[in-house]
């Protein structure tokens, strides 16, 4: 029962915040609502027994990405035009709507093979096993830091002041 209430609270929060992000004219408020959205998603993760992931969500998304977005907003704020909608409003609405509808229909009409075993109470050790053990995802684990390195270098190069 608690789960149901928690789910609906989180679901509404998430959808509302997302709507706010895409519909609000004020960019800064949109950024704050983005944070709210991320927090809601973290809550959903906890509901789904992904405790480690929820912690990561908050750490990474809220702690890093949202801050970065706010930083960027502040850096480009002088001539900010706010965040109006452009001329593709209606077509985008149609396409997004159709897409969403299509997915929902697919989901409803699929017979999922649901397994009802109880998941582990904490997932950390299971994730660790999954990531770092012999048959695990060790390769992506090694590659992702490389990607991050490339990203950092790329970002530095892009940001660097060329007038030097």
């Amino acid at each position: 029962m608690g789960q149901v209430i928690a789910f609906w609270i989180f679901a509404v929060a998430i959808v509302g915040a997302a709507l706010g992000v895409v519909l609000l004219e004020n960019v800064f408020r949109a950024a704050i609502l983005l944070i709210t959205c991320f927090l809601g998603v973290a809550g959903i993760f906890i509901l789904l027994s992904a405790d480690f992931l929820a912690a990561m969500q908050i750490l990474i998304y809220v702690g890093a990405i949202a801050i970065l977005v706010i930083l960027a907003i502040m850096l480009t704020r002088e001539l900010s035009i706010g965040s109006p909608s452009n001329k593709f409003k209606i077509p985008a609405l149609i396409i997004a709507g159709l897409f969403g509808l299509g997915i929902i229909l697919t989901v409803i009409n699929t017979k999922w093979l649901i397994n009802t075993t109880t998941p582990a109470p904490t997932t950390t050790s299971g994730l660790a096993v999954k990531l770092f053990s012999k048959d695990g995802f060790i390769l992506p684990v090694e590659i992702i830091p490389t990607v991050l390195l490339a990203t950092i270098l790329g970002a530095i190069v892009l940001i660097k002041d060329k007038k030097k």
């Binding site: 299971g126 990607v147 940001i159």
Partner: protein
């Protein structure tokens, strides 16, 4: 009612659609980036939901979500760097005004 897989998946679909709308219909490049973040979050929810309901003992879905998060972070960093670089050159971050590839 119980919260089943369908609930989470529908939530994910709605969230994704909202993000899609935002990515296609907003002027401000940063808002487009935020919408992309929303889309990525939606897929994360879907991954974890599948992992929880279809293979509860096998945490592959969560591993995937973890990777997706990492990549999203990287992508946001680069994207914002690009936006700032464009802002320095063009004095605007209006996605419609940046049309150098126009015919």
């Amino acid at each position: 009612m119980t919260i089943g897989l369908n609930n989470y998946l529908i939530l994910s679909a709605i969230l994704f659609s909202i993000g899609l709308y935002g990515a296609l219909a907003k002027h401000n490049a940063i808002v487009i980036l935020m919408s992309i973040e929303i889309m990525l979050s939606a897929t994360n929810i879907a991954f974890v939901a599948f992992s929880r309901f279809i293979t509860p003992t096998d945490l592959t879905g969560q591993v995937f979500a973890l990777f997706a998060m990492a990549i999203a972070a990287a992508e946001t960093a680069v994207g914002l760097a690009i936006i700032i670089a464009i802002y320095r050159n063009k004095e605007t971050i209006d996605a419609n005004k940046i049309d150098l590839m126009k015919w």
